[in-house]
């Protein structure tokens, strides 16, 4: 295995083997992952990152296949991260998204990577965000992240993507589903796929009716589009809307959103560093079991223990 700096250089040069190795390094959370991220980070921020989410079987992978083709026609390079679930019982995963995009696998302007959630919650994997950064740093114009088949509350994708496309298929639910919180609120663009099927117009109307209830005057009004991913119908229009949203972000509140994203990333990084340093310390001292026992015997709750450990590490909090 080459040295991490070699991999980083390879990523920046767009070398495919290096990109693949870099993503593996991040996924496995290997000791060198942080050094890698640190060296590619200054070269990120150029790609437009699109999140595509929606229920299982709504046609996400098939639609991405057509989206890639459309971007390729426009001369853009594309990276894809397709996430599928890890079994909570065996830790294994069957990653089947790329079957629908496999014809594109030899196109040198396309890089597709399948990723298992490894039991991370929220519809993506823990490594997804940094893997998207790798593809960004490698010079891909567009990075598409496909979430696991998402139902209602898998909204972690907003921490990764700039434009969120939420996909539905006809017949999945009535207008009650459209009122619910969660996934319906994160969409920048709604797509009703399988538009050739009956009830597609009804699904579009349900979503539009829900959007009209939004009393807050929003600067970006999410459009509701229809596509048929198998034939590619409606895909050029979808790309137009995605581009419109990208320009809107650049003009309007890209700064605000970027700031929010930066804050969330920093909070997460601090959490992880602090947590792992405290846990490591407890392990070294052989005290981890003692605290776990306290929780199991209901003598102390986890939050109180956390506070105690924090105080010990950083001194008494005010």
């Amino acid at each position: 295995m080459p040295k991490i700096q070699e991999i980083a250089r390879g990523v920046l040069a767009g070398d495919r083997r290096s990109i693949a190795r870099a993503i593996t390094t991040i996924e496995n959370n290997s000791p060198k992952a942080q050094e890698l991220i640190a060296s590619i980070f200054p070269h990120t921020g150029n790609a437009h990152i699109i999140g595509l989410t929606g229920p299982p079987g709504s046609g996400k992978s098939t639609l991405i296949d057509k989206i890639i083709r459309e971007y390729r026609r426009k001369g853009k390079t594309v990276g894809v991260i397709a996430v599928d679930p890890t079994s909570p019982f065996t830790g294994g995963a069957f990653l089947g998204d790329r079957i629908r995009m496999q014809e594109l696998s030899t196109d040198q302007g396309v890089f597709i990577r399948s990723m298992a959630t490894r039991n991370y919650l929220g519809g993506i994997a823990k490594a997804t965000k940094n893997a998207a950064k790798v593809l960004d740093a490698a010079g891909k114009d567009v990075v598409i992240v496909e979430t696991v088949g998402a139902g209602q509350s898998e909204v972690e994708i907003i921490k990764v993507a700039q434009t969120i496309v939420v996909l539905f298929a006809p017949g999945l639910g009535d207008e009650i589903q459209a009122i619910k919180a969660g996934i319906m609120e994160i969409a920048d663009i709604f797509v009703v796929n399988k538009a050739d099927r009956a009830n597609a117009d009804k699904a579009v109307m349900d979503i539009q009716a829900m959007l009209q209830l939004n009393n807050k005057e929003k600067k970006w009004k999410p459009p509701v589009l229809k596509t048929a991913a198998l034939t590619g119908e409606g895909v050029p229009q979808l790309i137009e809307r995605i581009e419109e949203h990208r320009l809107f972000l650049e003009k309007k509140f890209e700064r605000k959103r970027s700031r929010e994203k930066a804050e969330a990333e920093l909070v997460e990084a601090i959490k992880e560093k602090v947590a792992s340093s405290i846990i490591e310390e407890l392990k070294r001292e052989g005290k981890l079991e003692e605290f776990l026992q306290k929780i199991l015997e209901k003598k102390m709750d986890p939050a109180s223990i956390a506070e105690k450990l924090l105080n010990r590490k950083f001194g008494k909090q005010v």
Binding site: R16, R17, E27, R113
Partner: protein, 135 residues
């Protein structure tokens, strides 16, 4: 920090055959053994298989073939793997491969051939024992 390495496997169907029941059963068995399994789908060219293995950074490739074209396709795949520098990937194969062809296939660098009736736990065990160690 904890290293959370997983064995990643590509199950691939080279050439023109549409029978992937076996490939899916193997994929499922490896999944249930805790591995991350990527399936290419049917009718793959050697280029598609090798490019996929590269992008997915797999540790293992399982080739499933029932068409009889293994003597044409396997050498192409092994040659492409070499060209792309994917020499540390464990390659195994299964399907309908006549006994007399096995030595030739192994000479190409295919580590093991699993014929019809092979128990899935034997395949799982073989993968665990032969997957290349990465540093």
């Amino acid at each position: 920090m904890q290293n959370q390495r997983k064995i990643r496997v590509l199950i691939a169907k080279p050439g023109l055959d549409s029978h992937d029941r076996g490939a899916k059963i193997i994929a499922r068995a490896l999944r249930d053994a805790g591995m991350e399994v990527i399936y290419t789908g049917l009718k793959q060219t050697p280029e598609q298989i090798v490019e996929t293995a590269l992008q997915e950074d797999v540790d293992v490739i399982g080739l499933s073939i029932l068409s009889g074209a293994h003597k044409t396709l396997f050498p192409m795949i092994m040659e492409l793997l070499k060209q792309k520098g994917l020499t540390d990937v464990l390659v195994v194969a299964g399907g309908i491969i006549p006994e007399e062809d096995v030595p030739e296939m192994k000479k190409l660098g295919i580590k093991e051939i699993f014929g019809p009736g092979t128990r899935t736990d034997k395949i799982v065990q073989f993968v665990f024992e032969n997957v290349p160690k990465r540093t």
